[in-house]
Symmetry: C3
Amino acid sequence: MPISLGELATRFGCELIGNPDSAVSNVASLPNANAESLTFLASDAYKEQLSSTKAAAVVLRPADAGDSPVAALLHDDPYACYARMVAVICPPPSYAPGVHSSAVVDNSATVAASAHLAPHVVVGERSTIGENVYLGPGTVVGPDCVIGDDCRFIANVTLPRAVTIGERGIFHPGAVLGADGFGNAMTAEGWVKLPQLGGLRIGDDVEIGANTTVDCGAIDDTVIDNGVRIDNLCHIGHNVHIGAHTAMAGMSGIAGSTTVGKRCMFAGMGGAVGHITICDDVIVGAKSYVSKDVTEPGTYLASFPAEPAKGWMKQVGRFRRIAALQERVRKLEKK
Amino acid sequence: MPISLGELATRFGCELIGNPDSAVSNVASLPNANAESLTFLASDAYKEQLSSTKAAAVVLRPADAGDSPVAALLHDDPYACYARMVAVICPPPSYAPGVHSSAVVDNSATVAASAHLAPHVVVGERSTIGENVYLGPGTVVGPDCVIGDDCRFIANVTLPRAVTIGERGIFHPGAVLGADGFGNAMTAEGWVKLPQLGGLRIGDDVEIGANTTVDCGAIDDTVIDNGVRIDNLCHIGHNVHIGAHTAMAGMSGIAGSTTVGKRCMFAGMGGAVGHITICDDVIVGAKSYVSKDVTEPGTYLASFPAEPAKGWMKQVGRFRRIAALQERVRKLEKK
Amino acid sequence: MPISLGELATRFGCELIGNPDSAVSNVASLPNANAESLTFLASDAYKEQLSSTKAAAVVLRPADAGDSPVAALLHDDPYACYARMVAVICPPPSYAPGVHSSAVVDNSATVAASAHLAPHVVVGERSTIGENVYLGPGTVVGPDCVIGDDCRFIANVTLPRAVTIGERGIFHPGAVLGADGFGNAMTAEGWVKLPQLGGLRIGDDVEIGANTTVDCGAIDDTVIDNGVRIDNLCHIGHNVHIGAHTAMAGMSGIAGSTTVGKRCMFAGMGGAVGHITICDDVIVGAKSYVSKDVTEPGTYLASFPAEPAKGWMKQVGRFRRIAALQERVRKLEKK
């Protein structure tokens, strides 16, 4: 919806260079912006696109103000400031309250009158759906779940049972929250399943990506704290505890019973083995996994970026011959 | 449901130290147990929690019996014994037979009268659903499938076509069983799809995790043998054969046409390339993949656990300079 | 459906050695073929199975013609030729036009009369479904989507919003096309979500595997070009551009804003970091990821295949002691 630059500046604490009565009604990247667009510059990598932008206004750092050919909204953190503005200019869709006739809600469940249940939704025994919750098409909320106010389940999300979620969560399609953990005991007759009886507790303002899985606990609960962000195709094992504001990029995974601190970040395909504790403010690099307790904040890494195959194969050969090299040095030392 | 310690001891072959008429009605971890809880101690790592437990009884090894402050059920394999007891104390939910009015069953399909079809289930042409099967909400069983007795599909599981499953299987939400394998032939005009015509055969007592995919065969079938356990977000390619009682942890994958033996174990993010054979009793470590036939049982590994990034980057630099080091040693040897 | 060898030869440009009036009605592997089967030999690895095949006819290279015990269809690329023949002998299922009574189609959507909408399908506001499209059970097409003619969505595919797809695409169960990308700005109060407003554009003849996720763009669109093939459980981040005829094997992933060229191939668990450009005709090996721009076609690799754990652990120890070895060589050089 259209909003004036003056109002944006006031509301989000920016200095405005330009006409406060100009309005923006959409957002766009620097090169694709039009005369009604808000855009932003947060990284020097895109600075060359600034001079030719056709935007109505750009959110940028005070130091870049002089380079803007159009109105400028100055903020020390232009990316976060822009993100907040976008949520106002292009708000998420709103849904009229109501339960679609094809949705199936158990008699023992409680659904707030302001909630919207889309086609083919299922809500199970004793579950509670909070105010303004959106359950998108095909979403299944099993028994004994509690969904806090203002949560949005985009479509085809599955909560098998016993999941408690705080407020304002966003859950993307195909996410499976609270399925059985992987608990099996080996015996002479094969694996015996350990029934998974714990639940899953998710805090406020959590976002979980498409086709990500978070298992319920074996006995006690799996816990995802406030403000956690998990990307697509991630896996969180049973009885994991993810600390507040930790973020995990796509295809990363945490094995069972591991505790991850606050504000940690996992790059794509990163992870951690089970039964360890990772302190706050740890960053785990791409395709790297942590194998033991981490007690010092910082960045942890153990992956090799790909290089031309012929060179890599030779390098692997040298790696395999380090022992021979050590032996040759030993002989030289003896002489 | 409540059960006496005496009955547990008799039924599961334990020695009981304590009152056989005491009963347990729930299970809990050592620290969270109450006066009606059964708990267990299987690992020395948790032994310090034993002395203060408030449980009604603990399942543990005979050697630990003296340390229990409460009634003890002694068993050589306390974890497996406890797992079996839990299945009795906290049995999985049971479902009244019947087909929900929103389920769509093809006229040519056969559904056992004892089966439970939840809302929005679909059963396709010529498929057969066995006795006591539970098809949870949104589950799609395509044409030409045969589902054995007592299988449970928690919710939103998809079997596109031609899947045959034995008895007592458990299939978690989002699992896709029998989708097309990845078969394409490169031509001058681009990829040509090889139609995937084989089926998928799954044995008895198999459990497959949330959002895991198992492809159908290209011509012959993909096969998962009895007792196999596959965790979440795993991928099994077309024409793979997984031997009985093999277990795969989260995010592991087996590429097409590979044969995996019995009782193998894949740790998280582990895997195998296509068109190889892995013998029985092979363990593949975390984030490691097998690239050729494995003929000897044992543990296979090739991953580096993450370490502080600065040290790792230096180490990668040294790795890249092994050739230079070899050259320096060569020069020294010449002297 | 039955087809004569003569017709196959004419239609697919093969030389036929054998009776043109013989017919095939199914396809099979060399060892499992019967007197009505077409089979093929494309790799020397399977040549020993040729002599005993019971097939009606074999598609193979001219050089192998003399070794066939049965009728032979000679083609320089027997695998691609066979793939095209299979599509004729065993065509994909066809579906009668129509919308199942349980499907929910928004009043503002347009569905071609020739399309088939299976049970529990949802089509959202302003979306368009083309001619002969198959939307399998549980498929959700959100608002503002355009689905080209002859696309097939097998079951439980989810398109949250704003996805445009060309013709003849095949989308497997659990695929999520166009969910929000992972865009978050860190602030003192935690992560702020960057609303994801871009769409997803998919070209013609694209196939996307089960439980794969392709995110919509943050502002501009994510783009998948014509003829791309993506296997199961892959992840394509927001604003990625995948060039025509690129193929990605299972569990591979491309992080946000990366551009991948034409005819690239990613092996299983391969990938690329975000914000880079990969030129045409690049192959990325198994479990390897590209971390910076690639400007030369060729194969890129950086993974170690698993080996017996004891040997690997020793090797890791030697790797960690390269610095010590360098120091020893330095000392020797000083002498």
